[in-house]
């Protein structure tokens, strides 16, 4: 080895397969999606500490108690963090340039203690901005029900 001239490139191999999964969401997320279909935002509440999870969680991670109470939350939220995306993820996992920048934010609904990662309409946002949810109750895919957020007013 060592002193030899540059080695041939090591051969490569791939296989055109795409294993498919179907994740059951469980009864807590089911309530969330059912709520969105009716235009409602449903969060789960811990009976011990009052922490409200949105999206809902069956167990309160702080108390290890079943979050069996439900609260309907207002559609208004506050931006906790935001970023202007110049890229998106391509199918092969590369980051490719977007034609027009998009805003992605962590928003916290009024009355909730956890965040939702969401797309913001418009070109600008800042931490602290008040926004409201845009719900597309007719969306085919449940993941599109909570379509985006837009600035309040």
């Amino acid at each position: 080895m060592g002193a030899k001239a540059a080695k041939d490139p090591v051969p490569r191999a791939s296989i055109p397969l795409n294993p498919v999964f179907n994740w059951s969401v469980g009864n807590w997320m089911e309530v969330f999606y059912d709520g969105l279909r009716e235009g409602k935002i449903m969060g789960s509440k811990c009976p011990a500490c009052g922490r409200v999870s949105l999206p809902p969680r069956m167990i309160c991670e702080r108390c290890f108690v079943k979050a069996e109470e439900w609260v309907e939350l207002p559609s208004t939220a506050t931006v906790q963090a935001c970023t202007t995306a110049s890229v998106k993820v391509a199918e092969n996992g590369d980051l490719v340039d977007l034609d027009a920048p998009e805003i992605i934010a962590m928003v916290k609904h009024d009355g909730a203690d956890t965040c939702i990662a969401a797309r913001l309409e418009g070109k600008e946002a800042a931490v602290g901005t008040k926004v409201e949810a845009v719900i597309d109750t007719g969306a085919e895919n449940v993941l599109d029900l909570l379509a985006s957020y837009k600035a309040v007013g």
Partner: protein, 158 residues
């Protein structure tokens, strides 16, 4: 809250097609296939650290050396493990359970190597196959230079 036994399923996937692995073994095995095709020889690689001989060749050895010496091995072999499709010969197994052409698959160690190759045994009844039996590679008339050339072995009369 009405408890549902079947909840929404979110579909997703693992786009494994975007993974592209690297293998020295492909180049090594290709060399062996070429030697089979051009010279009707079985070429293996030998580890300089412990002397183990790998057939088909392998780019690394469990003793942490890189096997890089080419050696010719014999086309006679010993059976170390086997299975059947179609169990026509065995107790309590009805004929109607046998589908397709019955085949005997065997793991064999070619003489001069320390590793297993999987092959099909011909010219023997399944109940007579045993671990330790001696076999010989049945070279095809036309050697294609591929795994199919190693696909058939026959019992060795010794």
């Amino acid at each position: 809250m009405e408890y549902k036994n079947e909840t929404i399923a979110i579909e997703g996937s693992w786009n494994l097609a975007s993974w592209e692995w690297k293998f020295e073994s492909i180049a090594l095995i290709r060399k062996t296939f070429e030697a089979m095709k051009n010279e009707r020889k079985l070429m293996a690689n030998k580890c300089p650290g412990c002397g183990r001989v790998y057939f088909l060749p392998k780019p690394y050895c469990l003793c942490l050396s890189i096997p890089d010496e080419w050696v010719e091995i014999k086309d006679t072999a010993t059976v170390t493990t086997y299975t059947f499709t179609g169990a026509w010969a065995y107790e309590g197994i009805a004929d109607d359970e046998v589908s397709g052409t019955p085949q005997i698959f065997a793991g064999v160690v070619f003489d001069g190597s320390d590793t297993k190759t999987v092959t099909m045994l011909e010219g023997i009844e399944p109940e007579k196959v045993h671990v330790g039996m001696r076999v010989k590679l049945k070279w095809p008339e036309e050697v294609a230079g591929g795994l199919t050339d190693l696909a058939h072995c026959v019992p060795l009369e010794e």
